[in-house]
Symmetry: D2
Subunit: 337 residues, 4 copies
């Protein structure tokens, strides 16, 4: 039984890590840190967890967490993580960072996030389906929520150098914006609405570009536009892909099935996936339709932003890093309706 720690456990991803790890037979959440909620029961903050954990939040230093845990999840904001990671990464500890700090090449990070990076360390990009090498690592950068859905929707075609242009139009549940109330998450502003934002400049674009260009340097254009929808969870990505050659539906389906043949959390579906199929689960459902006339494909991917887009994927990384079966503790269906 491994002991797990969560640095920054009072947010949504912290709550999900504890919820999901409760089902894990080989890992026990021993420590969760929080400054604001120090000494308060975790289940006072995450009330749905009453009966599932007795621990209290503690205000501990990273080193103290390291001394008590075999696995550490870092769930602090970007910019903060780079101060924590150097204190805890070593060969005896498995560390998964859920922030943006180590996802990008350092120079790209500095340009996109407008800050100096203090730690030159590299980490593999923990999108397991593209980076099985995380199994050999003790420090992994967990992907962003939008990039997870966008990259998975296009990677098989990129890998086959088939994409000319890719436009990702993503729609996210509001929990992506975090647990703190804001104008965006204010019910009267979001209900009965859909809010487009950062139409051409969202930071997550850099992750999408990095990963797709890794598969194919010659994609002509990669665009990304995010929206928030009146939904608690979920990201539906509509990927408008223009291809380099004429293709048939079955041919494309084969490419996806082949590419993901060992990835149990990717479900290729006939028809159009939707958020209801993945809510609460670690799946990414993918479906598409061909517009053969125009060498154009519309791919839809659906994930739960807090699970496959954050905490579930972090546990998936942990499973590989610790030598567990990839699906351990994560093999639960979504809740629907």
């Amino acid at each position: 039984m491994l002991d797990a720690g969560i640095i920054g456990g009072s947010g949504y991803t912290g709550g999900e890590l504890i919820r999901l790890l409760y089902n894990h037979p080989d890992v026990n959440v021993k420590v969760a840190t929080s400054r604001s909620f120090s000494d308060r029961k975790v289940s006072d903050v995450h009330k749905h967890l009453k009966g599932f954990t007795d621990i209290c939040f503690q205000n501990l230093t990273p080193q103290k967490v390291k001394s008590e845990c075999d696995v550490i999840f870092v769930a602090v904001p970007h910019g903060a993580s780079m101060n924590v990671i150097p204190e805890i990464v070593d060969e005896n500890t498995r560390v998964i960072d859920l922030s943006a700090d180590y996802r990008l090449d350092t120079r790209v990070f500095e340009s996109v996030y407008g800050m100096v990076h203090k730690d030159p360390r590299k980490a593999p990009y923990g999108l397991v389906e593209l980076h099985p090498e995380v199994a050999d690592e003790n420090f992994v950068a967990n992907p962003g929520c939008y990039p997870t859905g966008a990259i998975l929707s296009a990677a098989p075609l990129a890998s086959n150098k088939l994409i000319e242009t890719a436009i990702f139009d993503s729609k996210s549940g509001i929990t992506g914006a975090g647990i703190s109330p804001s104008k965006t998450s204010h019910y009267p502003n979001l209900a009965e609405n859909i809010v487009a934002y950062k139409l051409t400049t969202h930071r997550h674009k850099a992750e999408i570009v990095q990963e797709l260009e890794r598969l194919d340097h010659n994609i002509n254009n990669i665009s990304f536009t995010p929206h928030v929808i009146p939904s608690i969870r979920g990201i539906l990505t509509t990927s408008h892909l223009f291809l380099k050659e004429d293709m048939e539906y079955d041919e494309v389906m084969s490419i996806y099935q082949q590419f993901y043949k060992n990835n149990k959390f990717i479900r290729m579906v006939e028809g159009v996936p939707s958020l209801g199929g993945v809510r609460g689960s670690n799946f990414c459902d993918i479906g598409f339709e061909m517009d053969s006339e125009n060498r154009r494909l519309v791919v839809i991917s659906a994930i739960d932003n807090l699970v496959k887009g954050a905490s579930g994927q972090a546990i998936q990384n942990m499973n590989l890093m610790c030598g567990f079966e990839e699906t351990t503790g994560l093999w639960v269906s979504g809740i629907s309706p």
Copy 2:
């Protein structure tokens, strides 16, 4: 490993039974019947279950189901169940009926549902917290969703003969109305709204009266008014209880804690419970506030109507009937947010 069958598996309660039983270590769903979806994969209808069951719906007779299964859940409409139950109840089979047909005294049923009852058989009312005797039975009537939340909110006080008048004002998610689209479930009618209906005449009132009067014959008035709210799941019951004597908060809390001391799915909470705490889980969260001046108590109970209000409670009954631990396969937290 017991084989379970579901008669009428294509609705919401059927989907939930399959979802929840997947986590049960000692029970396997072998058969699910449906006329309309016969021969179609269960996971084509309940898409979130893709990867969790390979069975197809079958159009089987009750006898055929009985011949293949150790445990049978009957999830057909009221009035239909009384035609199925006589075919399957015997001493070698455990049967849980999710319809209303066997919840009430036969004469009350006939009056409330306006139909002749064809089967004089009796079944215990499977609200386990009040009826532990289900453990000795092979046929149980699973309670209605509204009565589950209402009765649990008031039973400890009724049991102590403390209630003068009880008014249950309940608010339900729309899945209580079933999987078939209707005017009520039509999004433009329900969103941004709350719909009161059957203000004084809802059939579930009879179950509430039966169970509370079983605990105390002298309750002066029991009223029940249901509403549907723009929520998929959940029932929040606001119970306005007038008491026979002056009481303090702590005294009342003791009575509830004592009454439910062996019931792991009842969580007494300080403050006011809400649907977010129980979504997807088998818990009933209960909290209350005293209006001492007026010998009046407002109790709030929160359940997931499809779990504690239907399929989860049915499995809880099954666990007791089959000699399993009450919580087996059901000990998962809610999903929040």
Copy 3:
């Protein structure tokens, strides 16, 4: 053409006042004050009003507003209003206060709101249907949103001394909590939920008691429990009324129709009213069902909390105070669906 001013115009009630007064043929909104948004266009804050007003918010003293306006709406928080009102009320100005400061008897106010009242001035309670005398006044206290729906649902029976006990179980859209983001209005907390709060202690109860006891001193018990629902606008009140004598549906309907026969904004409906029928309008729809067996009535009233529950009612008061037809500028239907 009268000039109107709004003190505290950047919130929801301010926005509604401007929206609604645009349609008023005899009144022009000349001034809207705001400290935080001083010098910014009203239509930058209330974006839907682009093209409907060119004024900017100003940071003006109450006296300055009085010097420019014939009618003043005060839409500042309770406790703040009592500092403003003494500066602006005089015989040449019509003032409608939307705060709680002047709705209650001073001593009741001090006890309920836990603060000293600095201004002994009296104002009629501007629920026009019960207080036509506002027509003779130049200062009126606009009712609270919950009390508006609750009182209107029960006043005809109270007026006839028929009520034994009244329990108001109210469900409000979240705009009642104002324009500032909070935990309660945070989308993930409210969506798919219904939140009961202040189960026995909400301040609005005092208004309900004051107005119903004015009609009948001998009501045995008046209880009020509020909830917020996942809806932007609207208050649905479920009034559980126990009567002093047996009554028939038609008899009760006559009493309501008679009581409201001159009140154009009260619509008695067969069946159950819902929020969809009144959204955006100044109507209060009322319907009910008898439980004759128990001398009990369930009455449902539906209002838009921002219109009949706040700004619309304020304009209705203004119309009477200024000698306009009661419906002037307010006679628009709701928007549905």
Copy 4:
């Protein structure tokens, strides 16, 4: 005062026509037909209109409607309209068809809708901003809801031959699917979700192509993908436009402002428009962001699908056809929040 008739008045567009025309000083709704609701009060079906119309639905022939009315709105399904129009169009009657039957070139219609067109008649495409010539017509085809938002977002650039490729990713409120309950509009399927459909084959694409190609024959590719969101009303269109040449924000803004300089219902906004700004109104709000590096523009347009996308636009057409001011009866702000 002109008399107006609505053929097919029991749906959402019928309800909106009556709601909006109530505010029109020069037009009175005299007749509304419906087979299913014949002889029932309009306000029994559209309950929010209680007090705003006393007429009953009638089951009248088109000729009979023509004999009683000066202006007729046809709000029947596509395929049905072509049987009605020939009976009512003449030089003494103004007719606005809200169906798809006359929006497209006949051969395109037959191909897209898979049916033979029985009536070779032509009608101008009633998108007033592009077709001011409707003022000279007595028969106009009212545009589809999706095309309204999509075309308006791109027309100024198309008109200047600046568009290389246009991808319209549209998100619609569910009222676009009509008043009849369906699987798509079933609350549990739509809430907490967003549903993409007809990813490459939606019929409305033909209207978008027709109108944009009318402005510029050489657009390389026009794609359209619709989604429904958990919202009652509104269409937000995210238009991903690739340009033929480098442009600056201000340059683009000038082009839009110039193009729409006489169009009062088009509001160009700094920042990103959203559905809250247009709810219940006839406005189309448009904003955009440049991705200069990639000669790419993301334009957002927001409309209320039932107003500017249907009934409001139909009245706008009527105003021009009848010689009224374009904004008569339509100049109301949206309702927000």
